[in-house]
Protein backbone atom coordinates (compact mmCIF):
# COMPACT_ATOMS: atom_id res chain seq x y z
CA UNK A 1 0.00 0.00 0.00
CA UNK A 2 1.17 3.47 -0.80
CA UNK A 3 0.45 6.62 1.13
CA UNK A 4 -1.82 9.16 -0.55
CA UNK A 5 -0.38 12.59 -1.21
CA UNK A 6 -1.05 14.95 1.69
CA UNK A 7 -3.88 17.31 0.81
CA UNK A 8 -1.66 20.33 1.27
CA UNK A 9 0.45 19.15 -1.67
CA UNK A 10 -2.31 17.76 -3.84
CA UNK A 11 -3.87 20.34 -6.10
CA UNK A 12 -5.98 17.66 -7.76
CA UNK A 13 -7.66 16.57 -4.53
CA UNK A 14 -7.81 19.76 -2.49
CA UNK A 15 -8.98 23.27 -3.20
CA UNK A 16 -6.65 26.23 -2.83
CA UNK A 17 -8.37 27.16 0.38
CA UNK A 18 -8.02 23.66 1.85
CA UNK A 19 -4.36 23.55 0.96
CA UNK A 20 -3.62 26.98 2.36
CA UNK A 21 -5.42 26.13 5.58
CA UNK A 22 -3.33 23.02 6.09
CA UNK A 23 -0.09 24.71 5.05
CA UNK A 24 -0.75 27.42 7.58
CA UNK A 25 -1.20 24.83 10.30
CA UNK A 26 2.02 23.10 9.27
CA UNK A 27 3.95 26.33 9.51
CA UNK A 28 2.62 27.37 12.88
CA UNK A 29 5.40 28.04 15.36
CA UNK A 30 5.57 28.49 19.08
CA UNK A 31 5.83 32.24 19.72
CA UNK A 32 9.30 33.34 20.87
CA UNK A 33 8.09 34.69 24.20
CA UNK A 34 6.23 31.51 25.01
CA UNK A 35 9.27 29.46 24.05
CA UNK A 36 11.36 31.21 26.68
CA UNK A 37 8.68 31.10 29.34
CA UNK A 38 7.98 27.42 28.85
CA UNK A 39 11.66 26.57 28.99
CA UNK A 40 12.06 28.58 32.20
CA UNK A 41 9.17 26.55 33.64
CA UNK A 42 10.78 23.29 32.59
CA UNK A 43 14.09 24.35 34.12
CA UNK A 44 12.33 25.29 37.33
CA UNK A 45 10.48 21.99 37.55
CA UNK A 46 13.21 19.66 36.41
CA UNK A 47 16.46 21.09 37.66
CA UNK A 48 16.02 21.66 41.41
CA UNK A 49 15.37 17.99 42.11
CA UNK A 50 18.73 17.06 40.67
CA UNK A 51 20.55 20.10 41.98
CA UNK A 52 19.76 19.28 45.60
CA UNK A 53 21.04 15.72 45.40
CA UNK A 54 23.70 15.36 48.06
CA UNK A 55 27.18 14.97 46.69
CA UNK A 56 27.63 11.68 48.53
CA UNK A 57 24.56 10.22 46.86
CA UNK A 58 25.76 11.41 43.49
CA UNK A 59 29.09 9.74 43.91
CA UNK A 60 27.86 6.53 45.48
CA UNK A 61 24.87 5.66 43.35
CA UNK A 62 24.43 8.06 40.48
CA UNK A 63 28.01 7.89 39.37
CA UNK A 64 28.22 4.18 39.99
CA UNK A 65 25.21 3.25 37.93
CA UNK A 66 25.32 5.91 35.28
CA UNK A 67 28.97 6.52 34.79
CA UNK A 68 28.96 5.91 31.06
CA UNK A 69 26.12 8.25 30.03
CA UNK A 70 27.26 10.78 32.60
CA UNK A 71 30.70 10.79 31.08
CA UNK A 72 29.21 11.10 27.62
CA UNK A 73 27.18 14.03 28.81
CA UNK A 74 30.24 15.74 30.15
CA UNK A 75 32.10 15.10 26.94
CA UNK A 76 29.15 16.57 25.05
CA UNK A 77 29.16 19.61 27.29
CA UNK A 78 32.84 20.10 26.74
CA UNK A 79 32.34 19.48 23.04
CA UNK A 80 29.63 22.11 22.84
CA UNK A 81 31.92 24.63 24.39
CA UNK A 82 35.01 23.61 22.53
CA UNK A 83 33.95 22.53 19.09
CA UNK A 84 31.74 25.40 18.15
CA UNK A 85 29.71 23.90 15.36
CA UNK A 86 27.75 21.48 17.53
CA UNK A 87 27.19 24.27 19.97
CA UNK A 88 26.09 26.54 17.20
CA UNK A 89 23.47 24.03 16.12
CA UNK A 90 21.94 24.21 19.55
CA UNK A 91 22.42 27.92 19.84
CA UNK A 92 20.76 28.53 16.57
CA UNK A 93 17.72 26.48 17.34
CA UNK A 94 17.38 26.60 21.08
CA UNK A 95 16.22 29.39 23.27
CA UNK A 96 18.39 28.03 26.03
CA UNK A 97 21.43 26.46 24.57
CA UNK A 98 23.36 25.20 27.50
CA UNK A 99 22.02 21.73 28.19
CA UNK A 100 21.07 21.22 31.79
CA UNK A 101 24.02 19.12 32.85
CA UNK A 102 22.03 16.68 34.92
CA UNK A 103 19.67 16.07 32.05
CA UNK A 104 22.52 15.44 29.71
CA UNK A 105 23.86 13.00 32.21
CA UNK A 106 20.68 10.95 31.99
CA UNK A 107 20.40 11.06 28.26
CA UNK A 108 21.49 8.29 25.97
CA UNK A 109 24.55 8.78 23.82
CA UNK A 110 25.41 12.25 22.69
CA UNK A 111 24.43 12.80 19.10
CA UNK A 112 25.63 16.24 18.20
CA UNK A 113 28.54 15.96 15.89
CA UNK A 114 30.20 18.56 13.76
CA UNK A 115 29.01 16.78 10.65
CA UNK A 116 25.38 17.16 11.67
CA UNK A 117 25.72 20.83 12.39
CA UNK A 118 24.67 23.54 10.04
CA UNK A 119 27.25 25.95 8.67
CA UNK A 120 28.14 28.71 11.02
CA UNK A 121 26.66 32.00 9.94
CA UNK A 122 29.09 34.87 9.84
CA UNK A 123 29.07 36.66 13.14
CA UNK A 124 27.73 40.16 12.84
CA UNK A 125 29.42 42.87 14.88
CA UNK A 126 26.35 44.14 16.65
CA UNK A 127 25.45 40.74 17.97
CA UNK A 128 28.96 39.61 18.59
CA UNK A 129 27.99 38.98 22.18
CA UNK A 130 24.94 36.95 21.27
CA UNK A 131 25.59 33.36 21.90
CA UNK A 132 29.06 33.72 23.29
CA UNK A 133 27.84 31.25 25.86
CA UNK A 134 29.02 28.51 23.55
CA UNK A 135 32.18 30.20 22.48
CA UNK A 136 35.20 27.95 22.41
CA UNK A 137 37.29 28.05 25.52
CA UNK A 138 40.65 26.35 25.55
CA UNK A 139 40.04 24.82 28.94
CA UNK A 140 36.82 23.25 27.78
CA UNK A 141 38.51 21.22 25.09
CA UNK A 142 39.60 18.66 27.60
CA UNK A 143 36.69 16.75 29.00
CA UNK A 144 37.18 16.64 32.70
CA UNK A 145 34.47 15.45 35.07
CA UNK A 146 32.57 18.27 36.71
CA UNK A 147 31.92 18.07 40.41
CA UNK A 148 28.36 17.93 41.73
CA UNK A 149 29.01 21.45 42.98
CA UNK A 150 29.74 22.57 39.40
CA UNK A 151 26.55 20.93 38.18
CA UNK A 152 24.41 22.50 40.88
CA UNK A 153 26.05 25.86 40.33
CA UNK A 154 25.44 25.69 36.58
CA UNK A 155 21.79 24.85 37.16
CA UNK A 156 21.37 27.67 39.65
CA UNK A 157 22.92 30.07 37.16
CA UNK A 158 20.59 28.86 34.44
CA UNK A 159 17.56 29.43 36.66
CA UNK A 160 18.75 32.85 37.80
CA UNK A 161 19.47 33.90 34.25
CA UNK A 162 16.00 32.75 33.14
CA UNK A 163 14.43 34.79 35.92
CA UNK A 164 16.50 37.88 35.06
CA UNK A 165 15.55 37.75 31.39
CA UNK A 166 11.91 37.04 32.24
CA UNK A 167 11.86 40.05 34.57
CA UNK A 168 13.20 42.25 31.78
CA UNK A 169 10.58 40.88 29.43
CA UNK A 170 7.78 41.52 31.91
CA UNK A 171 9.03 45.08 32.36
CA UNK A 172 9.10 45.59 28.61
CA UNK A 173 5.60 44.19 28.24
CA UNK A 174 4.38 46.55 30.95
CA UNK A 175 5.56 49.43 28.77
CA UNK A 176 8.74 50.49 30.55
CA UNK A 177 11.28 50.06 27.76
CA UNK A 178 13.97 52.15 29.45
CA UNK A 179 13.88 50.04 32.61
CA UNK A 180 13.81 46.88 30.51
CA UNK A 181 17.00 48.02 28.78
CA UNK A 182 18.65 48.57 32.15
CA UNK A 183 17.62 45.12 33.34
CA UNK A 184 18.86 43.55 30.12
CA UNK A 185 22.16 45.31 30.49
CA UNK A 186 22.44 44.07 34.07
CA UNK A 187 21.68 40.55 32.88
CA UNK A 188 24.35 40.91 30.20
CA UNK A 189 26.92 41.92 32.79
CA UNK A 190 25.84 39.30 35.29
CA UNK A 191 25.73 36.46 32.78
CA UNK A 192 28.23 37.42 30.08
CA UNK A 193 28.44 33.84 28.87
CA UNK A 194 24.82 33.07 29.65
CA UNK A 195 22.64 30.60 27.84
CA UNK A 196 19.96 33.10 26.87
CA UNK A 197 21.95 35.29 24.51
CA UNK A 198 19.39 35.22 21.71
CA UNK A 199 16.49 36.00 24.00
CA UNK A 200 18.37 38.84 25.60
CA UNK A 201 19.41 40.36 22.30
CA UNK A 202 15.91 40.03 20.78
CA UNK A 203 14.40 41.76 23.82
CA UNK A 204 17.07 44.46 23.71
CA UNK A 205 16.26 45.19 20.07
CA UNK A 206 12.56 45.34 20.86
CA UNK A 207 13.20 47.64 23.83
CA UNK A 208 15.41 49.91 21.73
CA UNK A 209 12.68 50.18 19.11
CA UNK A 210 10.06 50.93 21.73
CA UNK A 211 12.22 53.55 23.42
CA UNK A 212 12.56 55.48 20.17
CA UNK A 213 16.07 54.37 19.25
CA UNK A 214 15.01 53.13 15.84
CA UNK A 215 18.40 53.36 14.13
CA UNK A 216 20.18 51.27 16.73
CA UNK A 217 17.29 48.80 16.86
CA UNK A 218 17.36 48.45 13.11
CA UNK A 219 21.11 47.89 12.96
CA UNK A 220 21.06 45.28 15.67
CA UNK A 221 17.98 43.58 14.22
CA UNK A 222 19.69 43.27 10.85
CA UNK A 223 22.79 41.84 12.48
CA UNK A 224 20.69 39.43 14.49
CA UNK A 225 18.83 38.20 11.41
CA UNK A 226 22.10 37.80 9.58
CA UNK A 227 23.53 35.68 12.37
CA UNK A 228 20.35 33.75 13.20
CA UNK A 229 18.05 33.69 10.18
CA UNK A 230 16.07 30.76 11.54
CA UNK A 231 15.77 31.99 15.09
CA UNK A 232 12.28 31.80 16.59
CA UNK A 233 12.64 35.56 17.06
CA UNK A 234 13.43 36.24 13.41
CA UNK A 235 9.84 36.83 12.36
CA UNK A 236 9.28 39.34 15.17
CA UNK A 237 12.42 41.26 14.32
CA UNK A 238 11.79 41.50 10.57
CA UNK A 239 9.63 44.57 10.91
CA UNK A 240 12.32 46.34 12.94
CA UNK A 241 15.12 45.36 10.56
CA UNK A 242 13.13 46.35 7.47
CA UNK A 243 10.68 49.02 8.57
Amino acid sequence: MKDPIPLSDDAAEATDFERSLLQMAQEERLPGDARLEIWAGIAKQCLPAVAVLPAAKLSATHWGVQLAPWTKGLILLAGLSGLGTGGYLLLKKAPITAPPAAVVAQAPAAVVTPSSAEPVAPEAPAVAQVGTEDAPHPAAREATPASSHDVASRETTLRDESLAVLEARRTLRSGDAAQALRLLDQARQRFPKGALGQEREALTIEALAKSGNAASAKRRAQAFLHAYPKSPYAADLQSIANP
Binding site: M1, D3, P4, P6, L7, S8, F17, E18, S20, L21, L22, M24, A25, Q26, E28, R29, L30, A34, R35, E37, I38, W39, G41, I42, Q45, C46, P69, G73, L76, L90, K93, A94, P95, I96, T97, A98, P99, P100, V103, V104, Q106, A107, P108, A110, V111, V112
Partner: protein, 178 residues
Protein backbone atom coordinates in the same frame (compact mmCIF):
# COMPACT_ATOMS: atom_id res chain seq x y z
CA UNK B 1 19.65 13.41 22.48
CA UNK B 2 19.47 15.85 25.34
CA UNK B 3 16.37 17.56 26.63
CA UNK B 4 17.70 20.84 25.26
CA UNK B 5 18.12 19.41 21.78
CA UNK B 6 14.69 17.84 21.85
CA UNK B 7 13.14 21.10 23.03
CA UNK B 8 15.00 23.08 20.38
CA UNK B 9 13.93 20.81 17.57
CA UNK B 10 10.47 19.70 18.63
CA UNK B 11 8.90 22.43 20.77
CA UNK B 12 6.95 23.67 17.75
CA UNK B 13 5.69 20.17 16.99
CA UNK B 14 4.61 19.63 20.59
CA UNK B 15 2.88 23.00 20.73
CA UNK B 16 1.03 22.44 17.45
CA UNK B 17 0.04 18.96 18.50
CA UNK B 18 -1.41 19.84 21.89
CA UNK B 19 -3.32 22.71 20.30
CA UNK B 20 -4.68 20.51 17.53
CA UNK B 21 -5.59 17.84 20.08
CA UNK B 22 -8.01 20.30 21.63
CA UNK B 23 -6.06 21.88 24.47
CA UNK B 24 -7.34 25.45 24.81
CA UNK B 25 -4.85 28.18 23.97
CA UNK B 26 -4.79 29.40 27.55
CA UNK B 27 -3.51 25.99 28.65
CA UNK B 28 -1.25 25.22 25.71
CA UNK B 29 1.95 26.56 27.26
CA UNK B 30 1.43 24.61 30.46
CA UNK B 31 0.71 21.50 28.43
CA UNK B 32 3.92 21.88 26.45
CA UNK B 33 5.76 22.22 29.73
CA UNK B 34 4.06 19.08 31.06
CA UNK B 35 5.13 17.17 27.96
CA UNK B 36 8.78 18.14 28.36
CA UNK B 37 8.76 17.34 32.06
CA UNK B 38 7.62 13.83 31.11
CA UNK B 39 10.34 13.75 28.46
CA UNK B 40 12.89 14.73 31.09
CA UNK B 41 11.72 11.97 33.40
CA UNK B 42 11.52 9.29 30.75
CA UNK B 43 14.40 10.16 28.48
CA UNK B 44 16.70 7.56 29.94
CA UNK B 45 14.07 4.90 29.19
CA UNK B 46 13.54 5.98 25.60
CA UNK B 47 15.18 3.23 23.63
CA UNK B 48 14.77 4.64 20.18
CA UNK B 49 12.58 1.77 19.02
CA UNK B 50 10.08 4.31 17.76
CA UNK B 51 10.98 7.64 16.24
CA UNK B 52 11.26 10.59 18.54
CA UNK B 53 8.25 12.23 16.91
CA UNK B 54 6.02 9.26 17.53
CA UNK B 55 7.21 9.04 21.13
CA UNK B 56 6.50 12.73 21.64
CA UNK B 57 3.07 12.40 20.07
CA UNK B 58 2.22 9.63 22.52
CA UNK B 59 3.16 11.91 25.41
CA UNK B 60 1.27 14.85 23.87
CA UNK B 61 -1.82 12.72 23.50
CA UNK B 62 -1.77 11.63 27.09
CA UNK B 63 -1.11 15.16 28.40
CA UNK B 64 -3.83 16.63 26.16
CA UNK B 65 -6.30 13.98 27.31
CA UNK B 66 -5.56 14.78 30.96
CA UNK B 67 -5.87 18.53 30.32
CA UNK B 68 -9.20 18.13 28.56
CA UNK B 69 -10.46 15.90 31.34
CA UNK B 70 -9.41 18.43 33.96
CA UNK B 71 -11.02 21.32 32.05
CA UNK B 72 -14.22 19.34 31.74
CA UNK B 73 -14.17 18.49 35.45
CA UNK B 74 -13.61 22.13 36.37
CA UNK B 75 -16.45 23.20 34.16
CA UNK B 76 -18.74 20.51 35.52
CA UNK B 77 -18.05 21.74 39.00
CA UNK B 78 -19.29 25.18 38.03
CA UNK B 79 -22.11 24.47 35.65
CA UNK B 80 -23.86 21.69 33.84
CA UNK B 81 -22.74 22.45 30.31
CA UNK B 82 -23.67 19.64 27.96
CA UNK B 83 -21.13 17.95 25.74
CA UNK B 84 -22.56 19.56 22.66
CA UNK B 85 -22.34 23.03 24.18
CA UNK B 86 -18.83 22.20 25.24
CA UNK B 87 -17.60 22.05 21.65
CA UNK B 88 -19.22 25.39 20.90
CA UNK B 89 -17.75 26.87 24.04
CA UNK B 90 -14.29 25.77 23.03
CA UNK B 91 -14.77 27.29 19.62
CA UNK B 92 -15.77 30.54 21.30
CA UNK B 93 -12.69 30.51 23.48
CA UNK B 94 -10.57 29.92 20.44
CA UNK B 95 -12.41 32.67 18.61
CA UNK B 96 -11.55 35.29 21.17
CA UNK B 97 -8.02 34.07 21.77
CA UNK B 98 -6.78 33.15 18.32
CA UNK B 99 -5.76 35.95 16.05
CA UNK B 100 -5.65 33.88 12.98
CA UNK B 101 -9.10 33.24 11.67
CA UNK B 102 -8.13 30.29 9.51
CA UNK B 103 -6.36 28.48 12.30
CA UNK B 104 -9.40 29.08 14.44
CA UNK B 105 -11.53 27.55 11.74
CA UNK B 106 -9.26 24.52 11.55
CA UNK B 107 -9.40 24.07 15.30
CA UNK B 108 -13.16 24.21 15.25
CA UNK B 109 -13.28 21.64 12.48
CA UNK B 110 -10.85 19.32 14.25
CA UNK B 111 -12.73 19.59 17.52
CA UNK B 112 -15.74 18.15 15.73
CA UNK B 113 -13.85 15.05 14.50
CA UNK B 114 -13.98 11.64 16.09
CA UNK B 115 -10.85 11.35 18.23
CA UNK B 116 -9.47 8.46 16.16
CA UNK B 117 -9.91 10.35 12.92
CA UNK B 118 -8.50 13.54 14.35
CA UNK B 119 -5.29 11.84 15.46
CA UNK B 120 -4.70 10.35 12.02
CA UNK B 121 -5.57 13.59 10.27
CA UNK B 122 -3.20 15.68 12.42
CA UNK B 123 -0.33 13.28 12.00
CA UNK B 124 -0.75 12.79 8.27
CA UNK B 125 -2.01 16.12 6.98
CA UNK B 126 -0.34 18.54 9.38
CA UNK B 127 2.74 16.75 10.71
CA UNK B 128 3.23 14.77 7.51
CA UNK B 129 4.10 11.47 9.14
CA UNK B 130 3.92 8.44 6.88
CA UNK B 131 1.18 5.85 7.13
CA UNK B 132 3.69 3.38 8.62
CA UNK B 133 4.73 5.84 11.29
CA UNK B 134 1.14 6.61 12.20
CA UNK B 135 0.38 2.93 12.36
CA UNK B 136 3.22 2.56 14.85
CA UNK B 137 2.37 5.52 17.06
CA UNK B 138 -1.33 4.73 17.24
CA UNK B 139 -0.78 0.97 17.33
CA UNK B 140 -3.29 0.31 14.55
CA UNK B 141 -2.92 -1.55 11.23
CA UNK B 142 -1.88 0.46 8.20
CA UNK B 143 -5.21 -0.25 6.52
CA UNK B 144 -6.99 1.32 9.48
CA UNK B 145 -4.78 4.39 9.17
CA UNK B 146 -5.87 4.80 5.56
CA UNK B 147 -9.55 4.22 6.25
CA UNK B 148 -9.56 6.72 9.13
CA UNK B 149 -7.70 9.21 6.98
CA UNK B 150 -10.29 8.82 4.25
CA UNK B 151 -13.12 9.44 6.71
CA UNK B 152 -11.30 12.40 8.25
CA UNK B 153 -10.69 13.96 4.84
CA UNK B 154 -14.35 13.59 4.00
CA UNK B 155 -15.32 15.20 7.31
CA UNK B 156 -12.80 17.99 6.72
CA UNK B 157 -14.22 18.81 3.30
CA UNK B 158 -17.80 18.60 4.55
CA UNK B 159 -17.03 20.91 7.45
CA UNK B 160 -15.48 23.46 5.11
CA UNK B 161 -18.44 23.29 2.78
CA UNK B 162 -20.78 23.78 5.73
CA UNK B 163 -18.71 26.71 6.91
CA UNK B 164 -18.78 28.32 3.49
CA UNK B 165 -22.54 27.88 3.26
CA UNK B 166 -22.95 29.40 6.72
CA UNK B 167 -20.80 32.39 5.79
CA UNK B 168 -22.80 32.99 2.65
CA UNK B 169 -26.04 32.71 4.56
CA UNK B 170 -24.80 35.26 7.09
CA UNK B 171 -23.73 37.58 4.30
CA UNK B 172 -27.15 37.32 2.69
CA UNK B 173 -28.85 37.85 6.03
CA UNK B 174 -26.66 40.86 6.83
CA UNK B 175 -27.41 42.24 3.35
CA UNK B 176 -31.14 41.78 3.89
CA UNK B 177 -31.01 43.73 7.14
CA UNK B 178 -29.20 46.73 5.76
Amino acid sequence: MTLTEIYAQHADFVWRTVRRLGVPEAEANDSVQDVFVVVHKSLSQFEGRSSLTTWLFTICRSVARERRRRSRRDRDAHDDTSVEEEVDLRADVARTAEHNQRLMLLETILSGFEVEQRNVFILFEIEKLTGEEISEVLAIPLGTVYSRLQLARKAFKQALTRNEARERFQEVRAGGRS
